[in-house]
Amino acid sequence: MTKAFKILAFQASTMVAGILLMSVVADMARAVPAPPGAAVSIGNFTFKAPVVTVKAGTTVTWTNGDDIPHTVVSKDGAFKSRVLDTGDRFSFTFAKPGQFGYFCSLHPHMTGTIIVKA
């Protein structure tokens, strides 16, 4: 084998490996379509995305962007944050399907819903 051929062969095999790897990643992405997490920002005394639909197993993170503290409290007691001051976050992983209404216990006119699908 000439040196030039060796280099060419190496390049080709690398390319093939690369393409294979890419397709594997794509398959993996198809196999696990749920995003690793979902975010709800709090601002102007509202949950900016009042209704969020996620797959079971998703972790939802709320971040308070207001100058005033808020809380994230589920209506049925499934989850309850501590008080979130400016910039504080609260996360909860929704393991099971269902509809989870929640509100801010300081400002109860602030409400939201997480819909969890199987």
Binding site: N44, P69, F103, P108
Partner: protein
């Protein structure tokens, strides 16, 4: 000797009006009238002979711990408010604090508020705001410090020189989608507390969130207030003092006069004038003119309580 109460009262209000800025709110004949005037500070001290006449003072929304625009130090402005109380020529018999003593219900916040208030040497009667309910036990830290001997979430009543004072809590156990809430247990207690009192007893009710709907979109009201107001309707003189909305609003309905006080920490926007009820970020030179205290004057026989709001700007 016959003593003309009305003349005395007019005289009294005139003497209050003598000097300046601020706003006097006198409930007369069901219609509140506002006169431009200064705080009681500048007025000459004229003791009123009637033993039963007295003043008390309302402080609200001190938010100790708040440190963002437009007020980097809510402790400092609370100290200024307390210093202002100390300079009043007619010292109030006591102070009521209508809630949001703290920003986050932290021990150091409650402690600082307590220490600052002690400088007045006056008794202080509290009700919690929603910011005072943020400890893990939902208000126990507040009650342990400021609400010893109170009932339920912190309600109670007391009498002072013939006036019946009722402290209500409308920030506990709030319902999703709702506003302030008194709850069945407290309403039941209120009915029993008022039962048997003559309709001529002047009543002062104080609670954090307004007991009438100022602005539902921002939750500025109390869902079951109507039940409480129904119990109060038979009394000839009822004054309802609230905080929460960090600005003065007034309303008179029958014999009931409603009033909200300024905060000592930061102003909030007028209903619907901003995207949210968050702090109004006024320039530093404007801040003190939007913070303040409320002085309440009770003159025996007039069955009316005059409320004087003054700012920290002077």
């Amino acid at each position: 000797m016959h003593h003309n109460v009305e003349e005395d009262r007019r005289d009294f209000l005139k003497c209050m009006a003598w000097a300046g800025t601020g706003a006097l709110f006198a409930v007369a004949g069901g219609v509140p009238s506002s006169i431009g005037l200064d705080a009681a500070i500048a007025a000459p001290y004229r003791p009123h002979a009637k033993a039963a006449s007295f003043t008390f003072l309302q402080l609200s929304d001190s938010h100790i711990g708040f440190n963002k625009a437009p007020n980097a130090d809510a402790r400092a402005t609370f100290r200024e408010a307390v210093a202002k109380v100390k300079t009043l020529r007619v010292q109030p018999d006591f102070i009521i604090h209508t809630g949001d003593v703290s920003q986050l219900s932290r021990d150091d916040e409650f402690d600082d508020a307590d220490q600052i208030l002690k400088e007045t040497g006056l008794p202080v009667f509290f009700v919690p705001g929603e910011h005072d309910m943020l400890d893990p036990d939902g208000g126990k830290a507040f009650r342990d410090r400021f609400g010893r001997g109170t009932l339920g979430a912190g309600w109670y009543s007391f009498d002072h020189k013939g006036v019946h004072f009722v402290a209500l809590v409308n920030v506990a156990d709030l319902k999703p989608g709702g506003m302030g809430n008194l709850g069945a247990e407290q309403l039941q207690w209120l009915a029993a507390d008022l039962a048997g009192r003559p309709a001529s007893t002047p009543i002062v009710v104080f609670a954090h969130i307004p007991l009438w709907t100022v602005y539902a979109e921002w939750g500025w009201g109390t869902d079951d207030a109507a039940a409480a107001l129904k119990l109060l309707a038979r009394f000839g003189s009822v004054t309802v003092l609230n905080g929460h909305i960090h600005q003065i609003t007034r309303k008179v309905e029958g014999h009931i006069a409603f009033h909200t006080a300024r905060s000592t920490a930061f102003p909030q926007p007028a209903p619907g004038t901003a995207p949210s009820p968050g702090p109004l970020k006024v320039p530093p030179e404007q801040l003190h003119s939007m913070l303040g205290i409320t002085d309440a004057f009770f003159v025996r026989g007039s069955d009316r309580i005059a409320l004087i709001d003054s700012t920290l700007a002077v």
